[in-house]
């Protein structure tokens, strides 16, 4: 215990991210369970009968739903007591289940809690249903966005002590934890996840407020662009897995020949359908998409081998330049945005992109000059701007400690490209990118940092105890968790 300075007190680490929630025991090297941060809400107005009929009609769907039955029981009883309370479904299988009328909602926007009810449900689900622990017994360590507001932090500590009755509580900024997971106390953390891309400078274990930048051009945004691109190029709406009963093989680029499930129209909410489409696009991104390692050059990239992809309905493609062009929106958003209907938020402020110059032309896309009024940041610009807002003495340290974390940094070529672009942005400086090759470490960097920090022997003096909370009130969180 002395040699590695660790001392485990069986605390729980809960990291609620923009699209995934990770939870597990401190001291572990990976979270015990990972749950989508979406809550399926079903109004208790009588859709239950519909759900039943669909279940009867299709055995396959029933199978997906079967696991839910046991967990639904307590909710049923509560629903009986309070009939107005809508049903909530959380968990991968739950929210993916075919359930007419269910809307999917995220409790967060820009990683800041908007809907506390849903948020509490997510916590409850993770601790009670997945870890199956009694939160009263274990200290609770949670993560927050670096730009979280004091009011939200106070609500978090209230939630932990009032609702879950934790014995001790601590909250830490995700950028700091990602830096710790990389073994650094000074770092510039670039977190490119599902919902948000952020660049936060970390100095000696403190996230600096002045330099933090975040923008919602991240994994989900790229997925939306891909959907729009497929819609534009093939005049086709991507069918998700739940719609297809049986698919037949077709030639490349030919219309799908599939037997679809016969659902009454309007049974499924757009949010559910979009979520299911996102699942397909997630697969598409993982198997096909790539980032150009150096400057985006269409002529050069077109010579790269094409990659095949088959959609759930059998429609399949050989993806050529598109597999580079669409993810390029992460690096050159001003030039490569396809779907301008999606709002872009920068540091919490919504930008209107609908009036922008047309999307990528086939030729000369790189030469397009961005309109001055819309300046979205590419990943390297974010890093560079963030570093430049720090003290000059600090910049070399940050440039040599750029930590990449988050699932969207797993695009092949991402780290190379960041390195390449930074070298031209910060000319003459030594640049070192830390990007773990292990995808688990990259995806769950924040959680792993939390696991490391909360299992350190010298950390235990920092917990906010129940007693302290009762004496000082919720404001103590802003004093003790800097």
């Amino acid at each position: 215990m002395v040699t590695y300075c660790g001392d485990e007190v069986a605390s729980l680490v809960l990291d609620v991210g923009g699209s995934w929630t990770r939870v597990g025991y401190s001291g572990d090297d990976a979270p015990k369970c990972v749950v989508p941060t979406y809550v399926g809400c079903l109004d208790s107005t009588g859709d239950e009968t519909n759900a039943k009929t669909i279940r009867d009609q299709d055995q396959d769907v029933d199978m997906t739903d079967a696991t839910k039955q046991s967990e639904e029981v307590p909710e049923d009883s509560s629903a009986a007591a309070k009939p107005s309370k809508p049903k909530r479904y959380i968990g991968d299988t739950e929210i993916s289940a075919v359930r007419p009328g269910m809307t999917l909602k995220s409790p967060l926007q820009d990683k800041i809690v908007q809907d506390w009810d849903l948020f509490e449900d997510v916590w409850s689900y993770c601790l009670h249903n997945r870890l199956r622990v009694n939160p009263k017994e274990n200290p609770l360590f949670i993560t927050e966005a670096s730009w979280n507001v004091p009011a939200a932090r106070e609500k978090l500590i209230e939630l932990a002590f009032e609702k879950f009755e934790s014995p001790a509580f601590y909250i830490c900024k995700d950028a700091v934890l990602a830096a710790f997971a990389a073994g650094k106390s000074n770092a510039l953390v670039l977190d490119c996840g599902g919902s948000t891309t952020s660049a936060v400078p970390v100095y000696d274990g403190y996230a600096l407020k002045k330099g933090q930048l975040y923008q919602n051009i991240a994994g989900d945004f790229v997925s939306d662009q891909i959907l729009a691109q497929i819609r534009r190029d093939y005049n086709l709406e991507v069918r998700s897995r739940y719609q297809v009963l049986k698919k037949n093989p077709v030639d490349v680029g030919q219309p799908a020949n599939a037997v679809l499930r016969d659902f009454p129209s309007g049974k499924f909410t757009p949010s559910y359908h979009h979520y299911m489409q996102m699942q397909v696009i997630q697969e598409y991104k993982e198997s096909v998409c790539q980032i150009s390692e150096s400057t985006y050059n269409e002529n050069y990239l077109a010579a790269r081998p094409q990659k095949p992809f088959e959609f759930p309905d059998g429609f399949n493609l050989q993806v050529g330049i598109e597999r580079f062009r669409v993810p390029e929106v992460l690096f050159q958003p001003n030039q490569f945005i396809t779907d301008k209907s999606k709002p872009v938020r920068q540091n919490g402020q919504v930008m209107d992109v609908s009036g922008m110059t047309p999307g990528p032309a086939v030729e000369g896309a790189t030469t397009q000059t961005p309109s001055t009024s819309f300046n979205m940041w590419g990943v390297p610009q974010m890093i560079h701007n963030s570093i430049n807002s720090c003290d000059i003495d600090l910049r070399p340290h940050l440039l040599t400690n750029v930590v990449l974390t988050g699932g969207s940094t797993l695009f092949p070529g991402f780290a190379d490209r960041v390195n390449f672009e930074l070298q031209s942005l910060a000319a003459g400086q030594r640049i070192k990118i830390h990007a773990p090759g292990n995808s688990i470490e990259r995806k769950y960097g924040t959680w792993i940092g939390g696991s490391i920090l909360s299992s350190l022997g010298s950390f235990h003096q920092l917990w906010i105890s129940r007693q302290e909370y009762q004496e000082s009130g919720a404001a103590i969180v802003n004093k003790k968790c800097q």
């Binding site: 215990m1 002395v2 300075c5 001392d7 485990e8 007190v9 069986a10 200290p139 014995p167 001790a168 100095y203 000696d204 403190y206 600096l208 407020k209 002045k210 720090c390 003290d391 000059i392 003495d393 600090l394 910049r395 031209s424 910060a426 000319a427 003459g428 400086q429 022997g457 010298s458 235990h460 003096q461 917990w463 105890s465 129940r466 007693q467 302290e468 800097q482």
Partner: protein, 488 residues
């Protein structure tokens, strides 16, 4: 020889020993396995009869450590003295561990933050840019963030008022210094106080200046950096070139010098000889020339510096083709004879006499010297074969030798060029009539050619370099200047 043969030789009866052999056979039989049917003998000898494998049983026997007790691990609650409250957390520890205080509590170090009273503030710490409340807030932040000034500056927000890192540092260090001075009991020259004051030294202007330089360095664009690097490389190249040029210049100077000293030596020698000749002429007015008895003596033995004059010329008749001096009257032949005579005299002359000879030019204003004008001397010197390194450079080899072997050999790499030059001058590659003077003259010619070739090489190289440099200059100027309009 088998066992039975031995028995036969020894005359031992066979039946007497047979029981023993039988017993041996019986004893050996079980070890040998029977050859299975259908397997050839050769094959069986390969697979069968392998040495038996020794099966060793592990001899180790774990002994229970009855004397030592196993340590128990217990799930135990603990409190930490580093905490303000008595929160009980639980962890696994050895039952033997001392539960009095938490091990990691000793790592809880905090800094001692300076404090001051209101009176002290009013007396010493007043500042135009800081109010007391703001200063208090600053010290509170310093305590909270353990003097991490970067973080303090980041979090500093006093009613919307912020300060830069340097402002904050300046204020903090100024507070420390002023309070140290104010609270110090002894005189201001106390070395202890000085040492402490130095710790809190902070010069904001210098820091700001340093940072502005750093900013300028950081703000360089890629093109600027590349230009800077190119200039640096160019400067290095120039430096190295200069060194190389100096070396080359010295080589050339040496070459030229060698040539000139050679001429100078010859000039001096000739002059000396002339004066000797005049001296001799003066002498010969009264004294008739003695027979050339000394001519046959090996000239190499002559200790005088002028010995080179006669190396290899053992009194042979001069070559008729040998060019005559332009001086009117006396032919080279006659003059040479005089010289030889003089030399012969010199050999017998005492050192004391030679001094008088050396001093002769001072009084050499006799009309007999009129024909030996300076330009005549120079012209003669140019043709004189007598002073060459052919004679001076090496000693006389013992015994007889062929004179032509004494001609300095030409380096193989240069030989072709030398031959060409000789051809241009209509001189045969080797002298046909190898008399002493011819050899000397030929050698001199060859050396001159070599020197000239060497010089020419240098000239060519320099010319080439000048050309390259001119072209580069033109190129560089052309790049900076607007591109000329296309003429084609």
């Amino acid at each position: 020889m088998s066992h039975s043969d031995a028995l036969d030789i020894l005359g031992v009866e066979r039946s007497a020993v047979s029981p023993a052999t039988k017993r041996v056979k019986v004893a050996a039989a079980p070890q040998r396995e029977k050859k299975p049917e259908g397997v050839s003998r050769e094959l069986y000898s390969l697979i069968g009869g392998a040495p038996s494998v020794v099966i060793s049983k592990p001899a180790f026997k774990a002994k229970p450590k009855l004397a030592t007790q196993t340590t128990h691990w217990v799930w135990r609650g603990f409190t930490s003295s580093a905490r303000p409250d008595d929160l009980v957390l639980y962890h696994w520890t050895k039952a033997t561990d001392d539960p009095s205080d938490y091990f990691f509590a000793s790592f809880n170090q905090s800094i001692d933050m300076v404090t001051y009273t209101d009176a002290e503030y009013d007396l010493y710490l007043k500042d135009d840019h800081w109010t007391k409340a703001e200063t208090d807030y600053l010290l509170e932040l310093c305590r909270a963030y353990d003097l991490r000034f970067v973080v303090i500056a980041d979090r500093f927000n006093f009613d919307g008022h912020t300060h830069s890192v340097d402002d904050i540092k300046e204020r903090y260090y100024a507070i420390q210094q002023r309070l140290l001075r104010a609270r110090h009991q002894g005189g201001m020259d106390d070395p202890d106080l000085r040492r402490q004051l130095v710790l809190y030294e902070f010069n904001k202007d210098r820091e700001v200046e340093r940072k502005s330089y750093l900013e300028a360095m950081y703000g360089r664009t890629l093109a600027q950096i590349q230009e800077e690097e190119a200039l640096f490389v160019e400067a290095r190249r120039l430096e190295q070139n200069e060194k190389r040029l100096m070396q080359e210049r010295q080589t050339i100077l040496r070459l030229l010098n060698a040539h000139e000293t050679n001429l100078a030596i010859r000039y001096a020698a000739l002059k000396a000889r002339r004066s000797q000749v005049t001296a001799l002429q003066l002498n010969t007015r009264s004294v008739p020339p003695s027979p050339d008895t000394n001519l046959s003596s090996p000239a190499g033995l002559v200790p005088s510096r002028d010995d080179g004059l006669f190396v290899g010329s053992e009194g042979s008749t001069p070559d008729p083709e040998y060019p005559c001096t332009p001086s009117g009257g006396a032919t080279y032949k006659s003059r040479k004879r005089k010289l030889l005579k003089k030399n012969g005299r010199l050999l017998s002359v005492e050192p004391g006499t030679s001094r008088t000879v050396g001093g002769s030019p001072s009084r050499a204003s006799t009309p007999g010297l009129k024909d030996l004008a300076d330009q005549d001397l120079a012209a003669e010197m140019a043709y004189s074969p007598l002073i060459t390194h052919l004679g001076t450079k090496d000693r006389q080899p013992p015994g007889a030798y062929i004179r032509s072997t004494r001609i300095t050999p030409v380096k193989l790499s240069m030989s072709q060029k030398v031959l060409e030059s000789l051809d241009e001058l209509n001189v045969a590659p080797r002298p046909t009539m190898v008399t002493g003077p011819i050899c000397a003259e030929f050698d001199h010619l060859q050396t001159s050619i070599l020197t000239l070739l060497e010089l020419k090489k240098h000239t060519d190289k320099l010319e080439h370099e000048v050309k390259v440099a001119t072209a580069r200059k033109a190129g560089l100027l052309g790049k900076d200047a607007p591109p000329p309009p296309a003429t084609t």
